[in-house]
Amino acid sequence: MFYREAGQYKTSYKADSAIFPILQDRIAIWFYLAVAFIAVPLFGSEFFINSMMIPFLIFSLAAIGLNILTGYTGQISLGSGAFMGVGAYSTYKLVTIFPDMNVILAILLSGFFAAFIGMIFGLPSLRIKGFYLVVTTLAAQFFLEWAFIRIPWLYNYNDSGAIEVPNRRVFDIVVSGSEASATTRYLVVLSIVVGLTWVASNLIHGRIGRSWMMIRDMDIAAELIGVRPLVAKLSVFAVSSFYCGVAGAMMVFLWLGAAEVESFDVNQSFLILFMVILGGLGSLIGSFMGAGFIWMLPIVIRAIPKILGLDINASTVEHINFMIVGALILVFLIVEPHGLARIWAIAKQKLRVWPFPY
């Protein structure tokens, strides 16, 4: 209905293959960015920024990471929690070994550690696929979890076994640690997430992204066309783990402030997988939707009894949340396996052909 595409014709392949070929979509994206960068820091409350926006963005990034692997390349993984951990622990080591290092740089660098570890655990994918791969990613998950507990060097031999984030300044502004303001951390997280989303979208729309999707859709044909499985699969494990790693590093350094191994356990991996499924396999926008949905749902569930004036204890809320998430996964897989992103795409298509039904 709001789409007026008559007269929007493309005179170059560059314009035709743009990520957002429709003018109205471009306007919408700039609008969202303006809201995120200007309106939210100006008008958002501390609670809204710290408990909703920051985790939403961080989980979105992790979901993008897993979506690149699962949605775009068809390699299912239950190890994303552990890869987030790799990012977090390596950032911790970097900033304690090099106290003067720019913490944002450390976060991004730690993504490369995660990518490296991801590639190692991605090696079996060259020979196996499907359920078998699930098991090898679980191996990564449990092995890394064990490493986070049993290798004290990783947490600097703290008695607590936890990593704690020191205060660090970038350009004289405290961006990490207890002194950093929520708004500052939010803006750093937002910038990183927007930048990396842009990069992910670029990769997906180019040669490399196509090689991933070829592997996903028909791996034999892909190889006969000339895709080298080694390169395609290892690159996707590396990229995916990089994203998870950066998300994990941000989770600890720009949100929680401290973390133990529980933050990176197999349940975290499940949660991120759910974000990807609900959001939509093979959709970047879906990753944001899924992350937003899964993160906001418990907040909403907690808020409802309060609004109704009921007194329900926290663990019951937690159980209800589990049931709803589980049931939703089933409903989505049955009704719309491509998740919220597909629902969004259908709605958009409806608006484009309005007033016609198709």
Partner: protein, 678 residues
């Protein structure tokens, strides 16, 4: 009786201004700056709009675009290449193919060489093509692709003058004998390579191209006899383009989609005449099948289509809306009803109440705007339909959406424009006021005559026809009968002049005009009017099975056959209402109020080409009907209320049979003749 009617203010002024210019055909000098030929307009555009797009074509997935400077280069390269191939001045070059920029350019190249471009309908069969190619003794043919080349080759031996075939699309052409065949691009390369030698020759040839040299020759499809080659000079084309562009304020910012046949005069005026005069951009669709999609992408600001296009589109819209959910359907019909009420008035700038305006604005967001967008007409500033009468429902549907659709009346011989509807004076049942620079008179027989700067030079190699069509003073007979509506000053076209008869009292009998009025009702499929040389008109009606059948189902009227449905009293009532409405509108018509239908019947069978009652193109064969249904015609005339008859029919499998029926004859209300009263 020589009456010049130009009642509307604008038409009047235009005519007067024109008359002060003196003798039409000879003394008019070229417009400012010596822009007296299409190649000169091209040079000007390349100079003034050098970086603006001139041509676009959807090819290889995107809209390939050429600026005016690039077009000029392409045109010159081809022109020089043609010179290198030995094209002489005054040669004829045929162009065959679908709308593509390169083919449009070639027409300008040909003219630059002092030769004459002759675009040919691409869907003509080899036989027709052979006649035209032979008639104009084309030495060169520019064909779009293998298919067209094959057609030319098929009739090659009958074309002694043919020397060279130039093809544009190289696909599949590799194995052809290339001794007398070249690829378009190769010819251009030849031209570019020989640039130093050929440029002076081209300049020399260009000098001889002036206001009175031939711009294009177009063959009229001609309903009778062989096609005639209409010679149009630069003066014809440029004057017609200039005045019409001024009339509708066309400018370099406009954009059009060229999808109608290149051999049709309208397309030549839009895609070359007005395009070169104003400098706007012409876009060509990827293929005929993708035209709708391409139309939507380009979103032209100036659009032309024949009535059947608008009719088909409207049907498609309605069919698609049928599949919409009930809420959406209700919203659609609500706002469409509102649009019908005020949309046309808003477009005409007439007063509309604030509430209605607000409601229309809301409808614009919810329905009209998106719909215009889907139809690719959101940006249409000026839209035209012509060629045949358009149903008022259809016409008003588009206008109510806010699309400025208008009608015009024209001919190849007039370089299109004879009459045209000015903004704010648009009616479904007229064709408008005389176009700027056009004089019109109505002959004694009711035939429309015109003269203008656009009036053609001659029919090629056919002085007889030229003489019989155009008199020495420059008046051209259109072959159509019409009259000026006294109230509005608009021309109404009745019928082909030869089909118009007289009633016993001497008033006009125009069967097609009345039949068309009836056929605009969805319930009426065919109508045949009788009454020439009598005092009362009567009619046969064929109902439209799909439309009436649908209505019957909705009203729980059971029926098993056409015959049963046609005889149903409620159906007769409905048709009678239609007939009476037509009578009411005819009564307002001073010239045609004698044609009101006094009595009618609904035929017990559908008129059918298998029974010889119609041509295969669904035109009624009046003579056969007169013979076959003489009893019914007599009954209509003699005042009986019922008639039993038996008719022979041919079934689909070729078997013959007969059906008998008793038909009810109804009297329809007729209205006093207003003009007589006045």
């Amino acid at each position: 009786m020589r009456v010049r009617v130009g009642v509307s203010q604008q038409g009047c002024l235009a005519t007067l201004r024109w008359r002060s210019g003196g003798n039409i055909l000879t003394s008019r000098i070229a417009p400012t700056g010596g822009l007296d030929s299409i190649p000169k307009l091209l040079a000007r555009n390349a100079r003034e709009f050098g970086d603006r797009p001139a041509s676009r074509e959807k090819e290889f997935g995107i809209w390939q675009s050429w600026t005016w400077a690039e077009v000029a280069e392409e045109v010159n390269a081809l022109a020089m290449g043609l010179l290198a191939l030995g094209l002489n001045a005054n040669d004829h070059v045929a162009i065959i193919g679908r709308n593509r920029p390169a083919l449009y350019w070639s027409m300008v190249s040909i003219q630059s060489c002092g030769a004459v471009p002759v675009p040919i309908y691409q869907d003509s069969v080899a036989e027709e093509m052979a006649y035209v190619l032979d008639h104009c003794s084309a030495r060169f043919v520019i064909a779009e692709d293998q298919e067209q080349v094959d057609k030319v080759l098929e009739v090659q031996e009958r074309l002694p003058a043919l020397e060279q075939i130039i093809y544009y699309d190289k696909r599949g052409m590799r194995k052809y004998d290339h001794t007398a065949m070249n690829a378009y691009r190769d010819v251009q390369e030849e031209g570019r390579a020989g640039h130093y030698r050929l440029e002076p020759i081209l300049q020399e040839r260009l000098k001889s191209v002036n206001y009175d040299s031939t711009c294009v020759m177009l063959y009229t499809s001609g309903t009778t006899g062989r096609p005639k080659g209409v010679v149009l000079s630069n003066r014809n084309i440029i004057e017609a383009s200039r005045t019409s562009a001024e009339f509708d304020h066309l400018n370099a910012g406009d954009s059009v989609l060229a999808y109608l046949p290149m051999a049709w005069v309208g397309d030549f005026i839009f895609s070359i005449g007005q395009c070169y005069w104003t400098g706007f951009c012409v876009s060509c669709p990827e293929s005929p099948e993708t035209m709708q999609e391409d139309l939507r992408e380009i979103g032209p600001s100036y659009f032309f289509a024949p009535p059947r296009f608008f009719e088909g589109l409207l049907t498609a819209v309605m069919i698609r809306m049928e599949d919409a959910g009930p809420m959406k359907r209700r919203m659609f019909s609500y706002f469409m009803a509102h649009a019908k009420k005020v949309g046309g008035r808003l477009l005409d700038g007439k007063p509309v109440s604030l509430i209605d305006r607000l409601k229309y604005a809301l409808g614009n967001i919810l329905v009209y705007g998106p719909l215009r967008n889907r139809l690719g007409m959101s940006r249409v500033r000026v839209g035209y339909t012509a060629g045949e009468a358009i149903g008022p429902e259809i016409f008003e549907f588009y206008r109510s959406l806010g699309i400025n659709l208008k009608q015009l009346y024209g001919q190849t011989e007039a370089s299109v424009y004879i009459t045209v509807q000015p903004d704010g004076e648009v009616r479904p049942d007229t064709v408008g006021v005389p176009a700027p620079g056009v004089e019109i008179r109505i002959g004694e027989t009711g035939e429309v005559f015109y003269r203008s700067a656009g009036t053609f030079v001659e029919y090629y190699k056919n002085p007889e026809s030229t003489k019989s069509t155009k008199d020495p003073e420059g008046w051209v007979a259109t072959g159509d009968a019409g009259f000026f509506d006294e109230e509005t000053g608009h021309l109404k076209i009745i019928d082909r002049a030869k089909d118009v008869g007289k009633m016993a009292d001497g008033s006009l009998f125009a069967p097609k005009y009345v039949e068309n009025k009836l056929k605009f009702y969805a319930n009426i499929l065919e109508a045949v009017l009788f009454g020439a040389e009598t005092d009362k008109c009567t009619a046969f009606i064929n109902i439209d099975m799909s439309s009436v059948g649908n209505w019957a189902e909705r009203n729980n009227i059971g029926y098993s056959s056409y015959q049963e449905l046609a005889g149903h009293p409620k159906v007769l009532d409905a048709i009678q209402a239609h007939v009476e409405e037509v009578n009411a509108s005819l009564a307002n018509d001073p010239m045609l109020n004698g044609c009101q239908i006094h009595r009618f019947l609904i035929l017990h069978k559908e008129l059918d080409a298998d029974d010889g009652e119609m041509t295969r193109t669904r035109k009624v064969r009046r003579r056969i009907i007169d013979e076959k249904y003489a009893d019914l015609i007599a009954a209509l005339a003699d005042g009986s209320t019922e008639i039993s008859t038996t008719t022979e029919v041919t079934y689909e499998d070729g078997r013959k049979g007969s059906i008998s029926a008793t038909l009810e004859i109804r009297d329809a209300k007729v209205f006093p003749r207003r003009a007589e009263a006045a």
